[in-house]
Symmetry: C2
Subunit: 246 residues, 2 copies
Amino acid sequence: MPIQAVVFDAYGTLYDTQSVAAITEEVFPGHGDLITQVWRIKQLEYSWLRSLMGRYEDFAQLTRDALAYTIRTLGLSADPATFDRIVRRYDQLGLYSDVRPSLHKLRDRKLAILSNGSPAMLNALVKHSTLTDVFAATISVDAAKVFKPHPEAYRLIETMLGVAPPEVLFVSSNPWDACGAKAFGLNVAWIERVSPQAMAEACARSDLVSPLTMFKAIRTQMDELGFAPDYRIGALSELPGIVSRA
Amino acid sequence: MPIQAVVFDAYGTLYDTQSVAAITEEVFPGHGDLITQVWRIKQLEYSWLRSLMGRYEDFAQLTRDALAYTIRTLGLSADPATFDRIVRRYDQLGLYSDVRPSLHKLRDRKLAILSNGSPAMLNALVKHSTLTDVFAATISVDAAKVFKPHPEAYRLIETMLGVAPPEVLFVSSNPWDACGAKAFGLNVAWIERVSPQAMAEACARSDLVSPLTMFKAIRTQMDELGFAPDYRIGALSELPGIVSRA
């Protein structure tokens, strides 16, 4: 069935969550990398845990909660103004280099974002990256009050765009997100940002690892969740070919 | 209200999941610690993700899936017999040293386990540690087909033991589990196995960290999930005093 809409995950797929490392290192010299990784891990954990507990709070709140956990765990502290300055960087994440040209070549389809981010976070992010005119919709799971990979989060694509799952290509670099979208019934392209070989090499000296290596070891390789993406791609530039052939 | 039943989480609370490090290091010299940490992190992630996806599989399957992910990610491989030998160690985890004497002093209450573990895993574990006669019930979330911290998992305590939530003290070292139990309405004692000071010291040299330090940084400190345990304890030996005063 032809692909009518291409829908992108935001964090880690279009926008590089590693962009916050500059400010975490500036504020906490020597701890920037560890803070960035623990922050991102806890942010996702809190989205899953609160969804399971039936205690939804929006992603802006979880992002603050996860940063508070991280700073406390490392035995550090931040005054409210500094804390806010770090959190605000999440609204200014950098785009991966292949995003803009790839989106341009896909403009004959409906393009959208489906993200855990709160509406305010996503609007700020899209505006900051000057992509406002590119997307037909920026869909936040906030409308379903549950986070991905719950099926109700993916159902928002049809609700908001009016395109049925078999006509949607969902694109994510997050393995759990790719599996969740596939379980729901979307066509899925997974961006493999860290090759298995690079991953194995980074883990070869494993008595001590960088926090980034540990992060990659738990978040970048395809998960064992019983579902496989339809396409494994190395870069967003492969999408126009996939869409035109589908 | 008096405490009629004391219900324990199993993994990380009564049983030390670090016990598997001996076999992972034996089979994969130099990688044992990293494998142990990634394995445990993914095992929990898969329990939350599959619960959210509505794609429950029991904890024995998730434990195998998480180990398969871990071995693949590190660029290693294991033949089926070796793989089984590693997984079987999960049925033979060591007890924390304060478990047996503390349980003995609590024998005037109903004692039980509520765990993510499958019935077969839990039965093997309790038998191996010769605690079969101590527990009135070994409750697996498998009866609810959803993992903690979903409320239906905690509801099994009343279903299986016939004791209402206000008369239960739930004990866990897992911060997310303590929060989930509190959100459900149980009395909760959280075992703080790593003090904030020890945690901060371990993170102080943070350009390179041991995999165990990274694990601790994301799994041992109280979470920011909007709920706080009723009791923070340093050891299970504090429980008899809490129960008699409650």
